[in-house]
Symmetry: C2
Subunit: 334 residues, 2 copies
């Protein structure tokens, strides 16, 4: 970092501004001078400061990825998809974790207003506050694409799977297996995707003349111990569910542990279908029937759309890209 434009200017006996313009390929500088400057700069192994040139171009070449957490296979696979596109485009990926805390999410988004990043990809937190206003403010100032967990009220491009339909599919699969008392493991918080999954689930039950027992709809939290207690309560009842739909991966693996503890055999005593990426599903015993979202593809698609916006290509600001999720039957529902 010791070679500066100043040194090049002094050594070549040129003005600093001439060197600077030559390196930026300005039309004001003769091609002969440009060649001299460029040759000498390569000889010295000169690298321009990226943030100096970002000030000129008003671009940082950084994009932000705002996620609830990274130790979750959906998000970590999605990051791979995003990173593959960013790398190709010469952009850098900054990761911000909200840990499902809406205040933290708000302060992260406020920072972007200062121009640290050129665009934002985000999956909203399931925290207690609704940050709709904050998302809208952010989207006004910095191109923003939501993926997976979106805020429907915000004018921004969205990449999702059809959660209503997926919830419907999960319930119908269990109904066709003969299940009569299907429970649903939801999550507390303001997550629209959980609500949509639950609504699809209810519709399937309805269409098949069933309904959910009020006590069989439970809401998990981000505290493992609380979830264990909730699940123990649910699965110890005499009238306990004969099947479960897990709306997120974490609470489903916790349900496996509780079944194990209570000697409930999966799938004999209780069948399970869950929203999950495949990685963990095949490792569980019995392997888990899943509604699987195309995590890598969702990350990639969201990043592609963001770069289209950054390249000023015309995209409808309310565009919603729906990628299909699939039900993969494994041993937990056989």
């Amino acid at each position: 970092m010791s070679v500066t434009i100043r040194k090049i200017a002094v050594d070549l006996k040129l003005a600093v501004s001439t060197v600077s313009k030559a390196l930026r390929d300005s039309h004001e500088i003769s091609s002969e001078t440009k060649q001299r400057v460029s040759d000498y700069a390569s000889k010295l192994d000169y690298l321009p400061n990226p943030y100096a040139s970002s000030l000129k171009k008003r671009r940082s070449c950084n994009i932000a990825v705002v996620l609830p957490e990274v130790a979750d296979s959906f998000f970590s696979i999605a990051i791979n998809g995003i990173e593959s596109v960013a790398q190709e485009m010469g952009y850098h990926v900054m990761i911000y974790l909200t840990h499902e805390d809406s205040r933290r999410e708000e302060s992260i988004l406020r920072e972007f207003r200062s121009g640290r990043v050129d665009g934002v990809l985000m999956s909203v937190s399931g925290g207690s506050n609704h940050n709709g206003y904050v998302y809208s403010q952010c989207a006004k100032e910095t191109p923003l694409v939501f993926f997976d967990r979106v805020c429907e009220d915000t004018h921004a491009v969205k990449v999702v799977t059809d959660d209503f339909e997926s919830g419907y599919k999960a319930a119908e699969h269990l109904i066709l297996k003969g299940c009569k008392r299907i429970g649903f493991l939801a999550m507390t918080g303001n997550l629209k995707i959980i609500e949509n999954r639950l609504n699809g689930f209810r519709k399937a039950l309805n269409d098949h003349g069933q309904e959910i027992d009020a006590g069989h709809l439970v809401y998990g939290t981000h505290d493992e111990q609380i979830n264990f207690n909730i699940l123990r309560g649910l699965l110890s009842e005499t009238n306990r569910p004969d099947a479960l739909v897990g709306s997120v991966e974490k609470i489903t693996t916790q349900a496996y542990s509780v079944c194990n503890e209570l000697n409930l055999l999966i799938p004999n005593h209780i069948k399970i279908v869950a929203f999950s990426s495949t990685q963990i599903a095949t490792l569980l015993n019995p392997s888990l029937t899943t509604i699987t979202q195309p995590a890598y593809e969702m990350g990639k698609t969201a990043a592609h759309l963001l770069f289209k916006i950054l390249e000023k290509k015309k995209i409808d600001v309310d565009r919603v890209e729906v990628l299909p999720s699939i039900l993969i039957e494994r041993n937990s529902s056989r």
Copy 2:
């Protein structure tokens, strides 16, 4: 982003340089003027461009985390540890994935020379080329801290667990369980940590009057299909191992699948101990006995050390911080 220093200057009838200095709390400006500028800037909701101020301060307030992959529980937990420290220090975390490709790793590190980041935390790739020279170059120009996978030849602070001792512990645990033909699942590539684990493993066998059958030391790759074939070969032999030590998480879960396929019961027919973070270990069936590295603590420690260097605190450039890893016995070796 529409409010600039220029606008503030025009509105307050001050020189641009005066406003700029006032906002930087320069001693050249009277406190009265500073107050006026600061009040007006807050009224307009003015935010300084972070990269403009980074040019002045020669700091970007970004740190890079360079990892082989993110869809691995060790690394994703380590990111959480790193991020918790960075957040506290007001720094931003940029994630770069090498995908175990040494050329890609090299080009990522070369980019840092331009000052995009203030410091680098990295776990080296297991690619085919040895990037020792590249790491040393990078460390000369940007503060660098290695964690987990380190390059021993590079003068840089390192945060590791004692891999030799951990390999020893894993083998001894199985020997004490009565195993006589213990295999080792290594990985191809230039990873010193795998070599250290293997050396510790060999030493334990030696100390107990055993040695590894040459055919029972296999090298996995990053191709799942190839690994399945290697593992099928290993576990179909008549003289197959009665125990395995898995040097990384991925090949161990693949070994589980192959055991399942070949109807080999764990732990009855074959016992398994593996290097792994706990998350997946408890989900496997049977649950996996692990040598567990303190991933979160390693990330946190590495980040703390990097910030000490950034704050110009005196740290021995070759300091090696060794965090203990622990053997957690579960059902796969009972």
